[in-house]
Amino acid sequence: MAGGGGEENPVGINVTALVDIIFCLCLFFMCSLKFRELNGKMDSWLPENKGPKSSAQMNLPMDEIRVLLSYDKDRKQMQRLFVNRPIPVGDEGDSLLQKLIREQSASYRSLGKNDVPVIVDAGPAVPWKEVVKVMNMCKAENVQKIEFGMGSAMK
């Protein structure tokens, strides 16, 4: 029996405490496992000097790669633009967008401009996963500088 040894074996092991401990450990790991889903991160940086830019700064020609994202509520569909070029939704569109980011960043690099940012300019209703998808493409193409555009926030 679990309680101890019989008459023929007076020295027994009480396993009750062991079972208690095992159940306690089970409980602990069951509780903690739920929060183990976070496993990745992407670094991004916010502007250190906040505040509006002066008009002189605004008029400077900017080197940037801009990806525009918007969400059509009526058609429940994403819309994407690379600079001014529409990008279709789906795997083919994803491949095309990644190719364009690669080509554009390579052309800037060939001019010695290695830190040209990709600006993800998303509308307020765009799902976060779509923004992260573009960030992921940038990471895949070794674009180090990813910035967020200033679309209008959800009211």
Partner: protein, 177 residues
């Protein structure tokens, strides 16, 4: 008159089993309690990515976590992922277990809280206007509208924090490689 001494053979032994039980229950309690104090992660589904860096929380023990999460169990749009839920009453921003609604007053309270957390690592200690070197992890739900994330970013920047990280779930296929 002589008394006969009665010898009672008695075994004196301490039963340690209840003590061990209690000790382990106490240990469990403190382990969970200690974990709970750092549990500032809301239950969300982060977006997936295959090019993200492996997150090591122990390297960023000083990090602030900002959660952008949905909290409306009866919201069909979110549950079925048929459309993007843009009802601002359904979304919250949470920091260290404190939940903030998307009202101006609550967001101001959020910025105040973030500013207090940023104070620990200001470039110029004591100067609230100087920037902070503390990292901020943005844990946005994969279906969170970008407008919400942007509002969080505005408050993070307003508190003087600029080192941000975006939480993602690394795709299993990329982990296998």
């Amino acid at each position: 008159m002589g008394f006969k001494e009665i010898k009672v053979q008695e075994e004196v032994a301490a039963n340690l089993v209840p003590m061990i039980d209690i000790m382990f229950l106490l240990l469990l309690f403190f382990m969970l309690n200690a974990d709970m104090s750092q549990r500032d992660l809301e239950d969300i589904k982060p977006p997936t990515a295959n090019k993200a860096d492996q997150d090591k929380p122990e390297e960023n023990s000083n990090r602030i976590t900002v959660n952008v999460h949905h909290s409306a169990p009866d919201c069909a749009q979110y549950a079925m992922a048929s459309d993007i839920c843009i009802d601002s009453k359904h979304w919250f921003i949470s920091v260290q277990g404190n939940r903030y609604a998307l009202t101006e007053a609550e967001l101001a309270a959020l910025q105040k809280r973030l500013s207090a957390l940023a104070d620990a690592n200001r470039v110029k200690p004591g100067d609230k206007t100087s920037k902070s070197e503390r990292f901020v992890l943005i844990r946005g739900d994969h279906l969170a509208p970008y407008g919400l994330i942007q509002r969080s970013l505005e408050r993070i920047a307003g508190a003087g924090l600029y080192k941000t990280q975006v939480a993602v779930e690394i795709e299993k296929s990329s982990l296998a490689k």
